[in-house]
């Protein structure tokens, strides 16, 4: 469980990235922060592993204030996956994945074995273990980044727009992989994105944020779609005019659902769940 209690972050230049933010993130679920760029969602995420220190309030993991823990040890115990993978260009794939096990004193051999195991988990051919990041495609680099985040078997995995820089086909594939991984691994995932579709696809809980990390709504994708908190949220998730604005169209074969573009999205099955 990750708890934000009245958390504020004011940068030295006076901008308030996060203003009195409160939230409880449940364990073993995927929680997504979604909002437009500059809304403070990445700042929120980076306060969990002390990459950013709050100027007010506390962030606690399982009731323990993160500020009371040693930053380096804390970061090693939390997986972190970032946009553009953030891989070390002079480390091979296996060395990149094994970074944290090596830092925590595992032998080279044990760390490599762990790296190969994780390459399997994230769907990378182990033949790539000795290549360098520059020799991989963007999607493969991102998989290496996920594997590195999982290397120390952390309970918490922080993901900062991890699929933002890959093309849509690869992104869809990586999203499906993440859903599969999460089903198997059962981590507490905190995911940041500006893409509502991604948020609704991956999130058990979604927090919709506005500037200053103001929380507009927090709930499951179904709750938010069924009962948007206000007009802004409704517009943001596309409930009025986007792909979530469906209307019923009667056809000779029964009712179907049509989106705002006029494309038929599905068949309305009566009496379904």
């Amino acid at each position: 469980m990750i708890e934000f209690r009245n958390v504020t972050k004011r940068f030295p230049d006076g901008t308030v990235a996060v203003d009195a933010f409160d939230l409880v993130i449940p364990s073993r679920k995927t929680t997504v922060f979604v909002g437009s760029s500059g809304c403070g969602k990445t700042t929120l995420l980076r306060m969990i592993n002390r990459m950013v220190e709050p100027t007010g309030g506390t962030v606690a993991i399982d009731g323990e204030d993160v500020a009371s823990k040693q930053a380096v040890a804390l970061r090693r115990s939390i997986g972190y996956v970032m946009q553009n993978s953030g891989l070390m260009p002079h480390f091979t794939v296996a060395e990149n994945i094994a970074t944290v096990p090596r830092l925590t004193g595992r032998t080279r051999r044990a760390a490599r074995a762990r790296a190969l195991e994780l390459m399997d988990v994230v769907g990378l051919d182990t033949a790539m273990a000795d290549r360098y990041p520059s020799q991989l495609s963007g999607g493969q680099q991102q998989r290496v980044g996920v594997a590195r985040g999982l290397a120390s078997d952390p309970n918490i995995l922080l993901m900062d727009e991890p699929f933002g820089a890959v093309d849509p086909i690869v992104r869809a594939e990586l999203q499906r992989e993440l859903i599969r991984l999460q089903r198997d691994l059962d981590k507490t995932v905190v995911f940041v994105t500006h893409d509502v579709d991604e948020a609704f696809l991956l999130g058990d809980q979604v927090a919709i944020l506005a500037k200053g990390a103001r929380r507009l709504q927090f709930g499951s994708p179904s709750e938010i779609t069924e009962q948007p908190a206000d007009d802004f949220v409704a517009a943001f998730i596309g409930a009025e005019r986007g792909k979530r604005a469906l209307r019923v169209k009667q056809t000779p074969h029964g009712p179907v659902l049509v989106d705002a573009e006029g494309r038929t999205q599905g068949v309305l099955v009566e009496g379904g769940a």
Partner: protein, 246 residues
């Protein structure tokens, strides 16, 4: 009279390569002064440059200092230091002169090497839990090495050429034939000495150019070679794409 031919004839004469003032001794002295000066300068400038590059602080001070050090005329400084230190400490005075000459390039190489690293790589290293020392030694030093070796290269080049002036205060080196040749009006000797200095500088530069290439980490070099030789994609991402759920 062909001056250049005479100079080479003088260089090739066996008597120049014998005795206590043989050219091989002068060459060794030249190299010795260069090595000592660059080594001392490296001990001072490399840690300072790394500290600036790692923390991002003190850059303005370093730039100002390096600019001032570059502007100091070495010959004037040498004479001044000999006067200050006294004639018994001429080697020390000469060494200090050359150290001051070598520092700016090394300092710039050290911090520029760190500054050239993608900030996201440093951020990622910190985010996965590297300590500041681990970031320094495992990330910044290896990735900054090529530019540091570049700074080392230009420092060596400047010092090895300038060590020639050591002969003016009787410390030997390849400046000796140049100075004695001038006073004896034997210009082929002057030219011979100058040619030897130039050859030595070119040889060292070529050697350090190789070192600079070798200093590029393997993964980074693979990056550079990528455009030249397109890599075969063994495992295209799309190969594992399953049909879209409908």
């Amino acid at each position: 009279m062909n001056l250049l031919a005479d100079a080479f004839a003088w260089l090739a004469a066996p008597e120049q390569w014998t005795g206590p003032n043989g050219l091989q001794h002068l060459l060794a002295q030249q190299l010795y002064f260069t090595a000592i000066a660059v080594a001392i300068a490296a001990v001072i400038a490399v840690p300072a440059g790394w500290a600036i590059g790692h923390t991002g602080r003190g850059r303005e001070v370093a730039v100002a200092f390096a600019g001032a050090a570059r502007a100091v005329p070495s010959f004037g400084l040498l004479v001044l230091l000999v006067l200050l230190f006294g004639v018994l400490h001429k080697p020390e005075a000469a060494t200090v002169t050359f150290v001051i000459l070598a520092i700016p390039s090394l300092l710039a190489g050290a911090y520029a090497g760190f500054e050239a690293i993608d900030r996201r790589v440093i951020d990622a290293a910190r985010a996965v839990g590297m300590t500041e020392a681990q970031i320094l030694w495992r990330v910044e030093v290896p990735l900054g090495l090529p530019l540091l070796v570049g700074g080392f290269r230009s420092a060596v080049l400047q010092v090895v050429a300038t060590v020639t002036i050591a002969a003016y205060v009787n410390l030997g080196g390849l400046g000796l034939p140049i100075i004695t040749g001038l006073s004896l009006r034997r210009y082929e000797v002057v030219l011979g000495g100058a040619v030897l200095v130039a050859l030595l500088a070119l040889a060292l530069d070529a050697l350090l150019a190789l070192a600079q290439r070798a200093a590029v980490p393997r993964g980074v070099r693979a990056d550079q070679g990528r455009a030249a030789a397109p890599r075969r994609r063994d495992h295209p991402e799309s190969a594992t794409v399953s049909p879209h759920p409908s």
